[in-house]
């Protein structure tokens, strides 16, 4: 009886193992901060889809912005003999040693969305141009408010590089407009709930503002909800990221504009370059690549979907 069980179990395991061993396609590991955030999900899905199309085996995982978890997942990628790593990393400094280890193990590393504080380890670091995007959206903000009045700024988490780059980009444009005056600036830590309550408070003191400029779409949407709740009209709100929710709010007029970070395009570029490297042994691109952001307004909002510029057939 016991022997029968053992034989059955052995057969099942052997069968499973043989199924698995047959898949000899090179492995692509995609690591992103989370899979329940639309931005990261969009880039992970885009990378996974492209890699599958090109004939790779794909594994997607999330490190939850935890450098230690990322370290473990990269170890697992090394142990699985991955050929390519597509990584949206968990910290400029904290990711360097993990990427170095992966590169040393022969994995071709392609960083997307965020760069690391070291060059020569990854085959490419592809980012969207946060500075150019911030200037783009700030210029649209100036146009929308008619170049005069008071405004409020919502900043991202202050320890975050992108929060700094974006606010610098905003002010490069806004500070040059003589009619505009900043009434208040607050950090809402990228959070919708925090942006909502901070905007509510700021509206008590500054109900006459012409507009709100936010460091990301999540905060812009929080601000829009607070403005709506206060029964105020005509306050122009702009954000950053190009999230589907923001695009929908732009269509209804609750938000004015956003800068789309081409997450899907960047993910696809990374996989294409990795594939080229696998097949020809080289890419013709530099390590650091900066992809421009695109301005989304009511005029072109219909062309954007899921962090991607969908080209509509004429």
């Amino acid at each position: 009886m016991r022997l029968a069980w053992a034989v059955t179990l052995g057969c099942v395991l052997a069968l499973l193992a043989s199924c698995h061993a047959r898949d000899v396609r090179p492995l692509v590991v995609v690591l992103v901060p989370s899979q329940d955030n639309p931005f990261f999900k969009a880039e992970a899905d885009a990378a996974a889809r492209r890699a599958t199309e090109l004939g790779y085996r794909v594994r997607v995982d999330a490190h939850d912005d935890d450098a230690y978890r990322q370290d473990n997942l990269i170890d697992a990628a090394i142990a699985s003999n991955a050929a390519i790593l597509i990584l949206d990393n968990a910290g400029t400094d904290a990711s360097v040693s993990a990427v170095r280890r992966a590169a040393k193990a022969g994995i071709r590393c392609f960083l997307i969305d965020r760069a690391i504080n070291a060059t020569g380890l990854a085959k490419a670091q592809i980012q969207s141009d946060n500075d150019q995007g911030a200037r783009l959206v700030a210029a649209e903000f100036v146009r929308a408010v008619g170049g005069k009045g008071e405004y409020v700024e919502l900043l991202g988490r202050e320890s975050d590089t992108n929060a700094q780059v974006r606010t610098t980009g905003f002010h490069a444009v806004l500070d040059g407009v003589p009619g505009l005056k900043m009434a208040s600036a607050q950090s809402a830590n990228w959070s919708q709930a925090e942006a909502f309550s901070k905007t509510e408070t700021m509206l008590q003191a500054h109900a006459q503002i012409a507009g709100i400029i936010a460091g990301n779409d999540t905060m812009a949407l929080g601000a829009a909800a607070a403005v709506k709740g206060a029964g105020l009209k005509g306050i122009k709100i702009v954000g950053f990221d190009g999230s589907p929710d923001a695009v929908a709010a732009i269509k209804t007029g609750e938000m004015q504009a956003t800068a789309l970070q081409p997450a899907v395009l960047i993910a696809r570029l990374a996989v294409d370059e990795a594939d080229q490297l696998m097949k020809t042994g080289k890419t013709d691109k530099p390590e650091i690549q900066v992809i421009p952001c695109e301005l989304v307004t009511r005029a072109n909002a219909a062309e954007y979907e899921g962090f991607e510029h969908i080209v509509k057939p004429k």
Binding site: V60, D66, Y68, L73, D75, I78, T92, S97, A98
Partner: protein
């Protein structure tokens, strides 16, 4: 010497964590070709070492009837203290690696002492006291750098600090953190079983009043368990900072849950008084093998979370089953032991 059937049943239930571990190892080896390689097993053990070190410290606290929710935050704080000392330094002077590590461990032990004092002197429930230090230590870690990372702890290419070798080096082909786990685990196992202190921990957790009446210094024992747990957590923080060559204040979030899960999987009762260090080590291995194996199989992240939860719930269910079965089988157990000429329960 022949065991009775009742002994066999109880023994199998007691060894359930080992059995689960063996089943998982066979399963993952069959399903993932590169799982059963020396390279992967070494990586796996290195990952397990982190939760195992936390679990060993936690075991003493739980055995004495407490719980320590602050271990993850202490790990984060310890890494930040070491990172700060190495990069910014103390009063403008960068300390050496040895001093940085010792001070970080000292700070960790101090947080543990705080836990112990709150529990024993001020009568705060362990859950609440350590929940408080969970926030205090995390906040302190964030304050040290205003939320930023301490980078480049390994030093520059020309001048290495040697800090990176704590978590990244090998001794006799085995990663250093695994040696730490082995040494700390072995010492803890011997202390818990062979020293008066160890037996007192069991006594305090089993029946605090009886322990007090028989002259055991209950307060002292409890404080020591919290300090030890704090130091173990501090060690984990240093190992992680060394592996990442940088210290981030959010390191170690939710580690306490992994440690508690490992302790419970290893058969230690959250009521105190029952369990073992060895069990916790096996529990840590079960969780580590499960986590890495599922990642290598490419199971979706969301399923990984569900499966981990199911395993923990099942483990505790079986634990209760064992207790009930053991008491029901007691007559049979006693009979078979009596026939061997020794009656011990």
């Amino acid at each position: 010497m022949r065991m009775g059937w009742a002994d066999t049943v109880v023994l199998l239930l007691k060894l359930r964590a080992v059995l689960v571990l063996i089943v998982l190892l066979i399963l993952f080896s069959a399903l993932t070709p590169s799982f059963l390689t020396a390279n992967n097993l070494s990586i796996l053990a290195k990952h397990v070492a982190i939760s195992a070190l936390l679990a060993v410290g936690m075991t003493f606290v739980v055995l004495a009837g407490g719980i320590d929710l602050s271990v993850g935050s202490i790990a984060g704080l310890s890494g930040m203290v070491a990172g700060g000392l190495l990069t910014v330094g103390l009063f403008g002077h960068s300390t050496g690696v040895v001093a940085a590590v010792l001070i970080a461990l000292l700070v960790s032990g101090f947080v543990g002492l705080l836990n112990g004092v709150m529990v024993t002197q001020f009568g705060v429930a362990p859950f609440i006291a350590t929940l408080g230090t969970l926030y205090i230590a995390r906040g302190a870690a964030l304050l040290l750098s205003h939320g930023a990372t301490f980078p480049n702890l390994a030093g520059t290419a020309t001048k290495s600090t040697g800090f990176a070798s704590i978590g990244q080096s090998f001794f006799l082909g085995v990663p250093t953190p695994v040696w730490m786990m082995a040494v700390v685990g072995a010492i803890a196992a011997v202390v818990s079983l062979r020293t008066p202190f160890g037996r007192h921990v069991y006594a305090v957790g089993g029946n605090e009043r009886a322990a007090r009446l028989s002259g055991i210094r209950v307060e002292q024992i409890k404080v020591i368990t919290y300090v030890f747990s704090g130091v173990c957590a501090g060690l984990v923080g240093i190992v992680i900072a060394s592996q990442l060559e940088s210290a981030h204040p959010a390191t170690g979030e939710s580690f306490e849950l992994n440690a508690i899960a490992a302790v419970v999987l290893g058969g230690t009762s959250l009521m105190g008084g029952r369990g073992s260090v060895g069990g916790s080590l096996i529990g840590a291995f079960v969780i580590g093998v499960l986590a890495d194996g599922l990642v290598m199989m490419g199971v979706s992240e969301f399923w990984q979370i569900v499966i981990k939860g199911v395993v923990i719930v099942l483990a505790v269910t079986v634990d209760q089953l064992q207790l009930r079965l053991q008491s029901r089988l007691m007559p049979a157990l006693l009979r078979s032991r009596a026939s061997l000429g020794k009656v011990t329960i």
